[in-house]
């Protein structure tokens, strides 16, 4: 497969989006939204990261194999976090120790 050359215009557009999102996340953080603060902050972070991965890192135009690798990385991270939390979140159910 030949490599795909991304036009600088796309880069500038993505950059603008990233900068705007940064300002947004910074401003929203000061408002009191309760637990939504965490949700908003992390959602924006995920969107930003996705933009970087797809456009700056060219994954949008990459082979399926690259997609698989990217997903594997985050999937394994999810496994690690989920199974560890499965311990911490259920400790209170039947107390042998906190």
């Amino acid at each position: 497969m030949r490599e795909h050359i991304v036009s600088p215009k796309v880069y500038f557009a993505v950059f603008t989006a990233l900068a705007v999102l940064t300002v947004v996340t910074w401003s929203v953080a000061k408002l009191d939204l309760g637990f939504l603060n965490v949700v908003v902050a992390l959602t924006i972070a995920v969107i930003k990261a996705t933009l970087v991965v797809l456009y700056f890192m060219h994954v949008r135009w990459s082979s399926r194999l690259t997609w698989v690798f990217v997903c594997t990385g985050f999937f394994w991270l999810a496994i690690m976090v989920a199974l560890t939390l499965s311990d911490y979140l259920t400790r209170g159910w039947l107390t042998i120790a906190p």
């Binding site: 199974l83 499965s86 911490y88 979140l89 259920t90 400790r91 159910w93 039947l94 120790a97």
Partner: protein, 561 residues
């Protein structure tokens, strides 16, 4: 075993292509790097073995007469650290894998030859730190480095040893990365995934674990070292930290690491069973996918090391059920190897003897794994000699048997010489007997309740301990014999033909030892994996050429110049 008896004219191959220390230390040839690794891991095998000898001597008597308790604790720690991180993990991938992966996929080298060399240097650097730590008195935390003992209370060289482990992890990552990329991008024309030898499948699975798991142990060790340096850290209960979190992070790598050690051995056994019976592996796809399944499920079960660690009872159940899930693909492999023997042409060569030994030990090691995954039973046998026996059946009975079997099987390819068959069979027998005598009594000890890492023990455990120590002395001799005759054979062994076993697989279709470029010209693969056919079928199919080249070594010396 037939060997090329006639005088062979000198031929250029990877060993004699260049001379001098520099040509070895700066080589990017995967075969030479494999030999560098061979020398290194052999050294560490005997260092670790030396510690094991002292441990077994110490345990002859209940009181502990030979060394101080402090020394004993350092001995078993260094035994574990050296054997696991510097022998078992690199043994098969970095030696046999390095040598064979490019040959088996029909490539000239691994994808990143310089990174391959770098990985050996990183290994050496990590090894240097560890050796310095040993010389400065070692470390006494157990190879598991549990906090807060390791972070606060131990007075051993925790940071230095940790640094060694941290560094050697990167060598493992680089090896895994190299394999993955090579297997993906550098397969010879026609060599589709399902035509790959099972050795490659198992190395692919191993590499996945190496790149996904190893960074986690690296960061964990880093946090531990920082905690020790700063005298405060995130595992410290004084800050509200939870020491059990360290165990989670540690086992997230260290359980899959068990599969880093045993999966490559399974790959070796698949090769041995197929080629020594001259049959396709029964259920090839099942064995191939079982490797991948083991690698994936292997990441979901780490909590079974923590059933009594104050982990949540419910998490314990999740980890227990997942542990049973990982047992299934292992069992499938054993069944398929056994079924492969059916109507085969079974040779009793040394490699096959090791394969038989592996299967036997693996059954016991694997089945006792079911004991340990059963929550109620694990409460009793956790952290006792039962566990010690179990993982030695897997590590020593599995990995080392696979390693030695593979080393014998590919020795003619690696060195171009045959080893003495009689001695080799004798050594295999000695190892088999010594191994069982060493480790079987430990199952009983564990069930009786003898905790592991005990320097002195109550008297009722002595008989079994003496048996175990006696077995260890036999086992030790068993390991020395192959080292002696293999070194001897490098100079005095009879020359090996390109394919002394009549085996299938690309590595047997080049000369022994192979040329630096591996193949005279890039092979084009038109056959399935292990596609043995009887002569009449071969004639009917018109595949005479391919199979007769593999089976008639005398036709296969054309490339000898």
């Amino acid at each position: 075993m037939e060997t090329a008896a006639e005088v062979v004219p000198p031929r250029t191959h990877y060993v004699n292509a260049k001379y001098g220390v520099k040509s070895w230390l700066l080589t990017t040839d995967h075969k030479r790097i494999a030999l560098l690794y061979l020398a290194s891991v052999t050294f560490f095998f005997f260092v670790g073995g030396f510690f094991a000898v002292l441990i077994r001597l110490e345990l002859l008597t209940p009181q502990g007469d030979l060394v101080q308790a402090e020394t004993y604790n350092r001995l078993f720690t260094m035994h574990g650290v050296v054997m696991i991180f510097f022998f078992l993990i690199p043994a098969i991938p970095a030696v046999l894998g390095n040598f064979l992966v490019p040959l088996m996929v029909g490539a000239k080298d691994l994808a990143f030859p310089r990174i391959n060399l770098l990985s050996w240097y990183i290994y050496t650097l990590g090894a240097t730190f560890t050796v310095i730590a040993i010389l400065l008195g070692g470390v006494d935390t157990g190879w598991t480095f549990y906090t807060p003992y390791s972070s606060t209370y131990s007075n051993g060289n925790v940071i230095l040893t940790g640094l060694g482990v941290f560094i050697v992890g990167f060598s493992s990552i680089l090896t895994g990365l190299n394999f993955i990329v090579t297997i993906h991008t550098m397969r010879a024309p026609g060599l589709t995934w399902f035509r790959l030898p099972l050795f490659i499948w198992s190395h692919y699975a191993t590499s996945l674990i190496m790149i996904l798991g190893t960074p986690v142990i690296a960061v964990t060790i880093l946090l531990l070292a920082l905690e020790r340096l700063a005298h405060i850290g995130i595992f410290d209960p004084a800050l509200g930290g939870d020491p059990v979190l360290f165990q989670h992070l540690f086992w997230f790598y260290s359980h899959p690491a068990v599969y880093i050690m045993v999966l490559p051995a399974m790959g070796v056994i698949s090769e041995l069973v197929a080629n020594m019976t001259r049959k396709n592996i029964f259920g090839y796809k099942f064995v191939a996918f079982a490797s991948i399944a083991i690698a994936v499920f292997g990441f979901l079960v780490w909590g079974h090391h923590m059933f009594v660690s104050t982990q949540s009872v419910y998490a314990g159940m999740v980890f227990s059920i997942l542990s049973y899930a990982v047992a299934i693909p292992s069992a499938v492999k054993v069944f398929n190897w056994t079924a492969t023997l059916y109507k085969g042409s079974i040779s009793y060569n040394t490699p096959m003897l090791y394969a038989f030994g592996f299967i036997g030990f693996f059954i016991i090691g694997g089945m006792t794994g079911l004991f340990l995954a059963a929550l109620g039973v694990d409460i009793h046998v956790h952290d006792t000699y039962f566990v010690v026996a179990h993982f030695h059946y897997i590590m020593v009975g599995g990995t080392i048997m696979g390693y030695l079997g593979g080393l014998h099987y590919w020795w003619p390819k690696i060195s171009g010489r045959m080893y003495p068959e009689g001695w080799a069979r004798f050594a295999a027998l000695v190892i088999f007997v010594g191994f069982n005598l060493t480790f079987f009594p430990q199952f009983l000890l564990g069930y009786m309740g003898m905790p592991r890492r005990y320097y002195a023990y109550p008297e009722e455990f002595q008989v079994l301990n003496v048996m175990s120590s006696a077995g260890a002395s036999i086992l030790g001799i068993g390991y020395l014999i192959p080292m002696i005759y293999l070194i001897w054979s490098m100079r005095y062994g009879p020359h090996a033909s390109a394919n002394p076993w009549g085996a299938f697989g690309l590595e047997w279709r080049t000369s022994s030892p192979p040329p630096t470029q591996n193949f005279e010209k890039t092979p084009v693969v038109t056959w399935e994996a292990y596609e043995f056919h009887p002569r009449e079928e071969r004639e009917a199919l018109g595949v005479m050429d391919v199979l007769d080249r593999t089976l008639r070594p005398d036709l296969n010396v054309g490339d000898r110049g």
